[in-house]
Structures are given as structure tokens and as C-alpha cells.
């Protein structure tokens, strides 16, 4: 085992095991626990970063190390540029959030649970991206979902949190089922879970099966990465503490879908282009998500809502770029991952700042804010950096990454997609400006003067500053990143500025964004009261394109079905009962007529022997009597039955068992023949 592969094991095993010690250490002192978590996060980061040089100077080929886990299934690590990129991001961001939590979560209850889940998440997420087989990956995939669910419900005493957590879990679970289906198909076709063996055998899978696998995988990625039409959970997930939102729902966990697709493209290699409709579907989902997310971000008044929808939109960009990547050497593949990193930096920065602001003001409603520039100057400066980066203005990170994405899309020649992405970029600029204006500009609002806000504590500011610096320098690092990923870029750093698209992009960006901003606010009487008019567009936006309404309707439908299932249960119970009462009726009918018959028969014989055979007339009377007696008895018998129809379930049991017996007989006859 080489040094790198040992590191590859340690980097996820250490946080997972250490998480178990968190409750133990918290028994001694809360402070020791907090610093323990920071220490472990730092060690993890160190380990993760120590893998970078190996990959940087390596050949780009994956290093694999695996051991037998159970019954022929291996557990292992798969070290290649993609996994190391993600590992470093997760570990580094975990450290940032661990430090940030020292300040942000200082006055909360249940911190042992929080820190335990934090370490568990870091370990699981790294485990996800570094796994060398599908099964192990899926287990970690579920575990990060579980961490997400429990962390969203962190304030479990608030019903909304638990409700949101449950919603998130169920929605992402839809994707999990799809992914599980894909894994099962792979296993059925190749009999293995290991990436390396799948790569070797992928070409033997027939194209239709492979297409099904690809689309099911895409389903998993859509749910996890909050793409259309399953994007609504990400906004609900904002019930989580802001530090959690920054880590899970912006920087790392939601990127698992991107990782999945990127990995899938690596695995199937040149076959990606051969799959019908697969890549175009990805591109379209990404493009549509991008614009839908951006419009929603424009409308919401929730400070975290803007960031959540912005995340959705940016994830759409990454997806769209992946949709152009017919192989791992395409521009789109690199652009997507490169933007993934820069997005983690600027959106993470946004969340950290939002956390500080929520801390200071005690509200998430941006309409209550304004003029915060004076009270929180450092936050303001950092926010400016974040806004510039988010909008994709040069020379910060997103300018290069987003430029690459738009280049990759326009290179495919799809004009509609290119236009939509340009429009989204403008919208991004506009909602960023609105975000800025509502929070920092203008006069201080009443709420702010009441709250006397102050700058966030140092433990919260330093992580933000680190991210801000990364926002600034990450763009310039593009060639380094490209050679780290072992991708040959046709566009150089300088080329990015002079590339054909960039000037158009820039020239459109500023004026249009400003124009939107201007028209948007001048039509409303006051900057604080968001468009209050009732026009179709505001209705659509305030309902978030009706996605949640549709899902609620579906859920209601399901409830109705399950209610009617309740009726079905009653009916189902009635079947044995009917069979039973049928038997019962039959039996008592036979019984009573038999009784009457014997009675009358004996009567007849008796009468006959007494009065002799001559009295035929009497026999007629008797016959009459007999018939009417039968009638009477049957009537009384029937009423008796009505009164006494078996209502106990013992008869149901037996009748059901009789039906089951018949079922077994039929089935056996079907298999065996008579």
C-alpha cells in the first residue's frame, strides 16, 4: 500500500471514528469537545491536501487500494484528480465550518449532537467521493442524506424544522431509489460494483441497458443536487442552522450529484456521446434550473432564500456544462468542476456572512434590513467581494469559471441554451445587486436601530476572510487547476479575457443587469416593499413555479388513495365474511328445511297410521302446511341469520385460510400441471 492510498483511507476513517468520541469528550468539557472537532477537521484537511501533490505530479491514472469487506464485496479508495479535488474541498470546508461554528453555534443547546453529526458528515462525504465501488458509495450517499436530514431538524423542538427535514429526506429519497436502480442494473449486467471492473467491462453492456443506467443515475443526481423538478427541497433545507446550510446545502453535499455525473462520464468514457438523449437532457435540465433558480432568487425576501435559490441556479450551470461533456477531456467537464470549486467559495462566503447578519439582527427577512453598511463594515466589504464574484465580474473566480461554462455551451452551437445562460447571468447580477441594496444600502431601518447590531465575532469573520481571499485568487489559479485535473485546456488564462464570448458577455452583463434592477425597483413605490402588484409573473414567482403546489396535490392524492385503501381494507375483510356468511346461510337453510321435512314426514306417517290412507284431502292440507312451514322456517331462519351473521373475525380467519388453501392449490397446479 502506497503512502497515498494509506492517506486515502485515513482521510475518511479518522473523522468517522472521531465522531464517536465527541459525546465522550463532551462529558469532560464543552470547550475540549469544540476544539477536538476543530483539531480533527484540521487533521483531515491536512491529510486531504497532502494527497494533492501526488496527484498533481502523477500521471492522472487512479490509484486503487481495496480490502475484502464481506462476501466478495470490497471496500476501497479510488484516488484520482476528481476524488482528490472533492476530498480537499470537503475537508477544507469542514474545517472552515468547524471554526465558524465556534462562534455561530456558541449559545445553542444540543451541541454534542451537532458536532457529532458534523464530523460524521465530513467523514461520510469524503467516503462518498473517495469510494472505489458503487455499493460503498451508495451507503455513504445515504449517510450524508441522513446527516442532512438530522442537521436540518437540528432544532427538533421547532415543528417546522422537523417538517422540513422530513420533506428533504423523502424528496432526496426519490433520487436514492433511482440511483439504487442504476446500481442494481450495473450489478446485474456486470456482476461487480468496483469502478475499475466496471470501466473494464462497460463496453459489454448493451446500449439500451446502459441508457437506462445513465438516466437512473441522472435521477439520483437531480434529487441530490436540487435540479429541476426536484429542486424545491433545497429551500426547505434552509431551516437548518446557517453553518449547516453553508457546508451541506451549498458547498459540499449538494455537489454529490455533480460528482456522480462527473464520475459517470469518467467511467463510461467515449460511450457518453453514444447514449441517446442523455447528454442533451443533462444540459437542458441544467440550463432550465439555472434560469428558474435565478428568477426565484430575484423574488424571495428571505436572506437565506436568495442564497439557496442562487445555489440552485449555480448548480444548474454546472449541470449544463456537464451536459456538453462527451468525455472527461472536454471543456465542459473541467468547467463544471472548476465552477463547482469557485461556487463553493463564493456561496459559502455568502452563507457565512448571512449567518453573521442573522445572528446580529435575529431575522431572515431582508425587508426588515437596510443600511447595515455602517454597523458591519467588514461584513460589507466581504459582501462586495462575494457579490462581484457571484455575478461573474472580472477578475474574480466566477468570471473565469462561468466564462468557461458559457464557452462550453456556446461551442456546442445550441443558440437557445446559450441565450438562456446569458440571461441567467444578467439575472444573477440583478439579484445580487438587490441582495446588496436591501441589506446594506439605504437608511437604517427601524428594526436595525432597535437591534443595535455589531460586527460578528472573530471566529466567524476569519473563515469568511479566508473564503474571500480564495474568491479573489481562485480565478488566477485556473492553469494550475487544469494541470492538476490533467486536462488540456485550449483556452489560456489570458485567452479568457480576449475570448470572443467574454466581451459580449461583459458588454451585455452590466447594462442589462442594471436595467433590470432599475425597472424592477422604479415600478415599486418603495425599495422595501417588494412588488406588491398582482400580476401573473409575481403570482408564478411567489408560488415558486407551482412546483410545491403540484407536489402537495400529488401528496394529497396519495393520501386520498390511502384513505380509499382503508375502505379497501374494510371490503377486503368483508370478502371472508361474505364467504363465511354464505356458508352459514346455506347451512342453516339446509338444516331448517331438513328439520321441517323430517318433522312433517314423521307427522305424516303418524297421522296416516292413525287416520288411514283414505283421507287424501288431509294429505293435501298437510302438504300445504309442510310448504308453508318450510317458508316460515326459512323466513325465521333468514331473520335469525341476519341477527346472528358471524361478525367475529375467527370466521374471517378461517375463510381467509380456506381461500389461501385454494390459492396454494391453484398455484401448485399451475407449476406442476395436473
Amino acid at each position: 500500500m502506497s503512502l497515498d492510498s494509506i492517506t486515502g483511507w485515513l482521510v475518511w476513517v479518522i473523522p468517522l471514528i472521531s465522531s464517536l468520541f465527541v459525546p465522550l469528550i463532551s462529558k469532560f468539557s464543552a470547550k475540549a469537545r469544540n476544539y477536538f472537532v476543530v483539531l480533527i477537521a484540521a487533521i483531515t484537511t491536512g491529510l486531504a491536501l497532502s494527497m494533492v501533490p501526488g496527484v498533481f505530479f502523477g500521471s492522472g491514472e487512479p490509484t486503487v487500494s481495496s480490502v475484502v469487506w464481506f462476501a466478495g464485496i470490497n471496500a476501497g479508495v479510488f484516488i484520482d484528480p476528481l476524488s482528490v479535488l472533492f476530498t480537499s474541498l470537503v475537508a477544507f470546508f469542514g474545517l472552515i465550518i468547524a471554526v465558524y461554528s465556534l462562534g455561530y453555534m456558541a449559545h445553542e443547546e444540543g451541541l454534542t449532537r451537532y458536532y457529532f453529526l458534523l464530523l460524521l458528515f465530513i467523514g461520510s462525504m469524503i467516503g462518498l467521493v473517495i469510494s472505489d465501488n458503487l455499493l460503498q458509495m451508495f451507503i455513504f450517499w445515504e449517510m450524508v442524506g441522513l446527516c442532512s436530514f438530522t442537521l436540518i431538524s437540528f432544532w427538533y423542538k421547532r415543528p417546522e424544522s422537523v417538517k422540513a427535514g422530513t420533506k428533504v429526506f423523502i424528496m432526496t429519497r426519490i433520487g436514492d431509489i433511482a440511483l439504487l436502480g442504476a446500481i442494481a442494473l450495473v450489478y446485474v449486467s456486470l456482476g461487480t460494483f468496483s469502478f475499475r471492473e466496471i470501466i473494464a467491462g462497460i463496453s459489454s453492456i448493451p446500449i439500451p441497458t446502459l441508457t437506462a443506467i445513465a438516466f437512473l443515475t441522472l435521477g439520483g443526481a437531480i434529487a441530490k443536487s436540487a435540479q429541476l423538478p426536484l429542486h424545491t427541497w433545497l429551500y426547505s433545507a434552509m431551516e437548518a442552522p446557517t453553518s449547516v446550510s453553508a457546508l451541506l446545502h451549498s458547498a459540499t453535499m449538494v455537489k454529490a450529484g455533480i460528482y456522480l455525473i462527473a464520475r459517470f462520464i469518467l467511467i463510461i468514457g467515449p460511450l457518453a456521446a453514444a447514449l441517446p438523449y442523455w447528454l442533451p437532457t443533462i444540459a437542458w435540465i441544467g440550463v432550465l434550473t439555472a434560469i428558474v433558480g435565478a428568477t426565484l432568487a430575484f423574488y424571495t425576501n428571505d436572506i437565506k432564500g436568495v442564497l439557496a435559490y442562487s445555489t440552485i441556479s449555480q448548480l444548474g450551470f454546472m449541470m449544463a456544462a456537464l451536459g456538453t461533456a462527451s468525455s472527461a477531456s472536454s471543456l465542459g467537464w473541467f468547467a463544471s468542476l472548476y465552477h463547482m470549486m469557485s461556487h463553493a467559495f463564493f456561496e459559502g462566503l455568502g452563507f457565512l456572512l448571512a449567518g453573521g447578519i442573522i445572528h446580529a439582527l435575529g431575522t431572515r427577512d431582508m425587508r426588515l434590513m437596510g443600511g447595515l453598511k455602517k454597523a458591519m463594515p467588514i461584513t460589507f466589504i466581504l459582501a462586495v467581494i462575494m457579490i462581484i464574484t457571484t455575478s461573474g465580474l472580472p477578475p474574480f473566480a466566477a468570471f473565469f469559471s462561468k466564462g468557461l461554462i458559457i464557452t462550453s455551451i456556446s461551442e456546442t452551437g445550441n443558440l437557445v441554451q446559450t441565450i438562456i445562460l446569458f440571461a441567467t447571468t444578467m439575472l444573477t447580477f440583478a439579484y445580487s445587486l438587490r441582495f446588496m441594496a436591501l441589506i446594506f444600502m439605504g437608511k437604517e431601518s427601524d428594526h436595525i436601530t432597535k437591534m443595535h447590531p455589531h460586527e460578528a465575532p472573530k471566529t466567524m469573520l476569519y473563515p469568511a476572510i479566508v473564503l474571500a481571499i480564495l474568491c479573489v485568487v481562485w480565478g488566477v489559479a485556473q492553469p494550475l487547476v487544469a494541470s492538476f485535473m490533467h486536462v488540456e485546456l485550449e483556452i489560456s488564462l489570458v485567452g479568457a479575457f480576449v475570448n470572443l464570448e467574454t466581451p459580449i458577455f461583459l458588454s451585455l452583463l452590466l447594462p442589462t443587469g442594471l436595467l433590470i434592477y432599475y425597472t424592477y425597483y422604479k415600478t415599486s413605490s418603495n425599495i422595501r416593499t417588494i412588488v406588491s402588484g398582482k400580476n401573473p409573473i409575481t403570482t408564478i414567482l411567489s408560488h415558486g413555479y407551482f412546483f410545491d403546489d403540484i407536489y402537495n396535490a400529488i401528496a394529497k392524492g396519495i393520501t386520498k388513495v390511502s384513505n380509499s385503501l382503508g375502505h379497501f381494507e374494510d371490503k377486503y375483510n368483508l370478502i371472508p365474511q361474505k364467504v363465511a356468511s354464505g356458508f352459514f346461510r346455506f347451512a342453516s337453510a339446509v338444516h331448517s328445511s331438513f328439520d321441517v321435512a323430517t318433522d312433517q314426514f314423521l307427522n305424516v306417517i303418524a297421522t296416516r297410521s292413525i287416520s288411514g290412507a283414505s283421507e287424501i284431502h288431509k294429505f293435501d292440507v298437510l302438504l300445504d302446511k309442510f310448504l308453508s312451514a318450510i317458508g316460515n322456517k326459512t323466513v325465521s331462519g333468514a331473520s335469525e341469520i341476519k341477527r346472528k351473521t358471524p361478525s367475529t373475525s375467527l370466521q374471517h380467519y378461517i375463510a381467509a385460510a380456506v381461500l389461501g388453501f385454494v390459492l396454494i392449490v391453484i398455484l401448485i397446479i399451475l407449476t406442476m400441471g395436473v
Binding site: 417538517k163 380467519y653 385460510a657 407449476t671
Partner: protein
């Protein structure tokens, strides 16, 4: 070398201690340290029985090859007239889980019942007797011995349900007993025909005789009767109606015991009969069982979906679990069998855990889903255990339920029964839905009343032992596989 005494010892020790329990309890009742003495007595009992089982297991695993060993009480001279025992990896495995689960549930029962202060010595004696009967059933080597021990266990289960004599329990116990006696009659009927065909009841002899049987008409009749009988006892749809009623009416301690041991015992018999005696080579039952499995999974989960009583909901999950077990049997592969035996263990532990946790909540008067509103805040630890059980049912990694379902579904796919696996996965989604409804009630709703509840710490010990077991077995399934396949890849399915 294993002697017959090694096999009888665990059974005998439990029977004797069951008989001793009544006088011992008389003595204990006079003392002032009732609880400590009770726990001490049962620990001693299980120490002896556990040592006996461990002795058997170690001796067996110490052998050079893990073959099937047959024993008779009188040395085999009059094989027809003697009870015989048989051990292989499966019976060893089953006896280990029977003794372990029984010990944990008994300790829980001591804590749960002691707080209510009721006369309980007969109850405990029956529990020990039942454990002995189940051990006998899993170690038995011919259909007759199996039948006798199993009937003893099934009839004894009726006593457990009757712990409190009210209309509900009397009614459901009565129904249970009637069903059981019908089932046993059907089984006897089928066995008599099998005996008539083959002239023997020994597992191995019968299997050999059936494979070479030319005229299968009588065998078909026999199989239909046996299948009906055991289908009633293991609650396969549509023979399942007694199970939810009985488990709901029984006290939680009994429900835990029944679901974890008696229920699993009935699956064991299904495996023993279907996989080792009437093999598909003898009579092709695969299609029949597959249909029943699908029905059981669907009906069990649908009915669980619409329950409002939590205990009844879990009882319905027990029914659904039967379906998943059947899927594994249907696949008829070594992987399926290992998965099935793993599923036994996990399913037993999980249902027992759920019944235990619900029992604690019931004892405070919370019964329906509405009652459970906000219970997560009132009783955080017990709720946590219940949520763990729920997640394991739903198959969320890394809990044991995931690995169990994974193995079962993989085995179905391997056996070209993908449609069963699909139904299984879909019904699992349904399980997620109603279990999350439960979680939603427990945590997201406002509690109806503001009573503060002091959780009893004692009773949490057995509960959390089981919860930890689910987690550990989920992470390290190899523990179980090593028990089942001590020599690496042992062929568990008899060659056709």
C-alpha cells in the same frame, strides 16, 4: 467430538430452570432485594444455558469439516422410535440467536413487569420453557421431533398472550390457538402422507427419497397440506390475519418475545422444510412461494400504511417481513439463504426493539399515532430507539435493515426473479413513507399534553443493547457470515 449430551444439555438446563423458577420466586418474594435477586437468578440461568450452547457451537466449529451431523437418543438402533437431532451451521446459528435474544428480552421483561408488581413467576417459567422448545426445534433432526417441539412452542406462545385476562386478549388468544391447532392438524396430515411415501421422517432420508420419487401426485397433496399449515403459523398472506390481532392484544413484553423468537422460529421451519426437505428438485414450489411473497409484501405494507395504532402498525411490519424472508427462500441460492438468516436476526432484533420501545410508551398511556404527537420531546431516549428501529425497517444504511434487504434483493436478482426484487424495493419505499409519518408525528407535532415523564433508566439497558446490535451488525455483517460460512464459501444449499 460432539456427543448427544452436548445437544440435550442446553434444552434440559432451560427446562429445569423453568421448573425451578416457581419455587425460586417464592423465596425471592420474601426477600427485600426482589429486583436484584430476580435479575441474578435469570443471569445464572442464562449463564448455564449460554455456556451449554457455546460449548456446542465451539465443539462444532472445532470440527474439521462442517458437515451435517445426525444423532439419536438411543444410538440409532431403533431409528424409527427415537427422537433424533441434527446439527449443521444453520441450527448452530439459530440456537445462538435464540439464546441471546431470549436473554435480552427476558431481562427487559423483568424490568417492565417488576414495575407493575404483578405475580409473574409462571410468565417467566413459560418464557424459559418456550426458549427450550425453540432450541429443541432448531436442533431437531427429523420431522416428528421438529413438529413436537414446534407445537410446544406455538401452544406456549398462547399462554404468553394471555398474561392479562381481558376480553381483547382472550379473544385474540382463542383465535390464535384455533388457528395454530388447525395448522398443526394440516401439517400432521401432510406429514403422514410424506411418511407414507418415503417411510421415514429423517430430514436427509426424506430429501433423498423425494428427489428420486417417480409419482408425485401424493407428494403434491402432502405438500399442499404442509404448506397451508406452516403458512398459517408463519402468517403468510392470506393466512396472516391472526398475527396483528394477537400481537396487538398481547402485552409488549410478549409481543417482543413472540416477534423476535417464535416468528423467526416459524421462518426457520419454512427454510428447513422448503430448502432442505421438500426441495424444488422434489417439488417445484418456487412460483407458488414467489406469488405468496409478493402478496405478503404488498398486503403487509399496505395495511401497515393505514394503521393508527402504533403497536398494530409494527405487527403489520412483522407480516411484511415474512414477505421479504420468502423472497430470499424463493431465490434458492446460497446468497439468499445467508441473506435470509441474516434477515431473521435483524428482523427479530428490530421488531423486538420496536415492540419494547412502544411498550414503554404504551405503559404511559400513549397508543395511537395521535398520542405519539411530540413524544420525541417527552421521552427522547425511547423515541430514539424507536426511530432507529424504524430506520432499520425502512432500510437506511448503515443500520442492519439495509444490509439485510440488500442481500435479499440481490439474491432475488441472482435467481432471475427481478420482478420480486422490484416489488420488494417499491414496498420498501412504502415502508419509508409510513415510518416517516410516524417520525413526523413523534417529532414535528405539538404534544397533546404537557406531562413530564421520567424515563426509567433500567429499562433502557436492554433496549439500547438491541439498538447497538442493529448498528454493529449493519456495519459488520461479516460477523454473521463467519458464523454461517466458517470455512469461507460453504455451500449451504444441498446440491440438486
Amino acid at each position: 467430538m460432539i456427543e448427544i449430551i452436548d445437544i440435550i444439555l442446553p434444552i434440559l438446563s432451560l427446562v429445569i430452570s423453568a421448573l425451578l423458577t416457581i419455587p425460586v420466586f417464592r423465596l425471592i418474594r420474601k426477600s427485600s432485594h426482589k429486583l436484584a435477586l430476580t435479575v441474578g437468578w435469570f443471569m445464572a440461568v442464562y449463564a448455564v444455558a449460554g455456556t451449554a450452547v457455546a460449548n456446542l457451537a465451539l465443539k462444532y466449529y472445532g470440527l474439521e469439516s462442517y458437515s451435517v451431523l445426525n444423532f439419536t437418543l438411543n444410538g440409532g438402533a431403533l431409528a424409527g422410535l427415537s427422537s433424533s437431532f441434527m446439527i449443521d451451521v444453520i441450527s448452530i446459528y439459530m440456537s445462538i440467536i435464540v439464546i441471546a435474544l431470549s436473554a435480552i428480552i427476558l431481562i427487559y421483561t423483568v424490568f417492565a413487569i417488576n414495575s407493575n408488581e404483578r405475580p409473574s413467576e409462571r410468565y417467566f417459567a413459560i418464557m424459559l420453557m418456550l426458549t427450550a422448545a425453540l432450541l429443541g426445534a432448531v436442533l431437531s433432526g427429523d420431522l416428528l421431533t421438529l413438529f413436537i417441539f414446534w407445537e410446544a412452542a406455538a401452544a406456549g406462545a398462547g399462554f404468553l398472550m394471555l398474561y392479562k385476562k381481558n376480553a381483547l386478549t382472550i379473544n385474540s388468544t382463542l383465535k390464535y390457538l384455533v388457528m395454530i391447532i388447525i395448522a398443526s392438524a394440516f401439517v400432521v396430515f401432510g406429514l403422514s402422507i410424506v411418511y407414507g411415501i418415503t417411510g421415514s421422517l429423517n430430514f436427509t432420508d426424506v430429501q433423498q427419497a423425494l428427489v428420486t420419487l417417480a409419482d408425485k401426485r401424493l407428494l403434491v397433496i402432502a405438500f399442499i397440506f404442509i404448506a397451508t399449515g406452516y403458512a398459517i403459523e408463519s402468517a403468510i398472506v392470506p393466512f396472516h390475519f391472526w398475527l396483528p390481532d394477537a400481537y396487538t392484544a398481547a402485552p409488549s413484553t410478549s409481543a417482543a418475545f413472540l416477534s423476535a423468537l417464535v416468528d423467526q422460529g416459524s421462518y426457520y421451519i419454512l427454510i428447513r422444510v422448503l430448502v432442505f426437505i421438500i426441495t424444488p428438485a422434489g417439488l417445484n414450489w418456487i412460483f407458488m412461494l414467489a406469488v405468496m411473497a409478493a402478496l405478503t409484501m404488498i398486503v403487509g405494507n399496505l395495511f401497515a400504511l393505514i394503521q393508527t395504532n402504533v403497536k398494530r402498525l409494527i405487527a403489520n411490519i412483522c407480516v411484511a417481513d415474512v414477505g421479504y424472508n420468502l423472497v430470499a427462500i424463493t431465490s434458492y441460492t446460497s446468497l439468499g439463504l445467508v441473506g435470509n438468516l441474516y434477515f431473521f436476526l435483524i428482523g427479530g432484533i428490530t421488531t423486538a426493539l420496536a415492540f419494547m420501545a412502544v411498550g414503554v410508551m404504551n405503559s404511559h398511556g400513549y397508543k395511537t399515532l395521535e398520542d405519539f404527537s411530540g413524544i420525541g420531546r417527552k421521552m427522547p431516549l425511547v423515541s430514539l430507539a424507536l426511530v432507529m428501529a424504524g430506520l432499520s425497517f425502512a432500510g437506511v444504511p448503515p443500520l442492519g435493515g439495509f444490509m439485510a434487504k440488500y442481500l435479499v434483493f440481490t439474491s432475488a436478482i441472482e435467481a432471475n426473479m427481478s420482478w420480486l426484487a422490484v416489488i420488494g424495493v417499491l414496498t420498501s419505499v412504502l415502508q419509508t413513507a409510513y415510518l416517516f409519518r410516524l417520525v413526523n408525528y413523534m417529532y414535528a407535532r405539538k404534544p397533546k399534553d404537557e406531562t413530564v415523564i421520567n424515563e426509567s433508566k433500567r429499562i433502557l439497558i436492554p433496549i439500547f443493547i438491541l439498538a447497538a446490535a442493529i448498528l454493529i451488525l449493519g456495519l459488520f455483517p461479516q460477523i454473521v457470515f463467519n458464523l454461517l460460512q466458517p470455512g469461507g464459501n460453504l455451500q449451504l444449499i444441498p446440491p440438486i
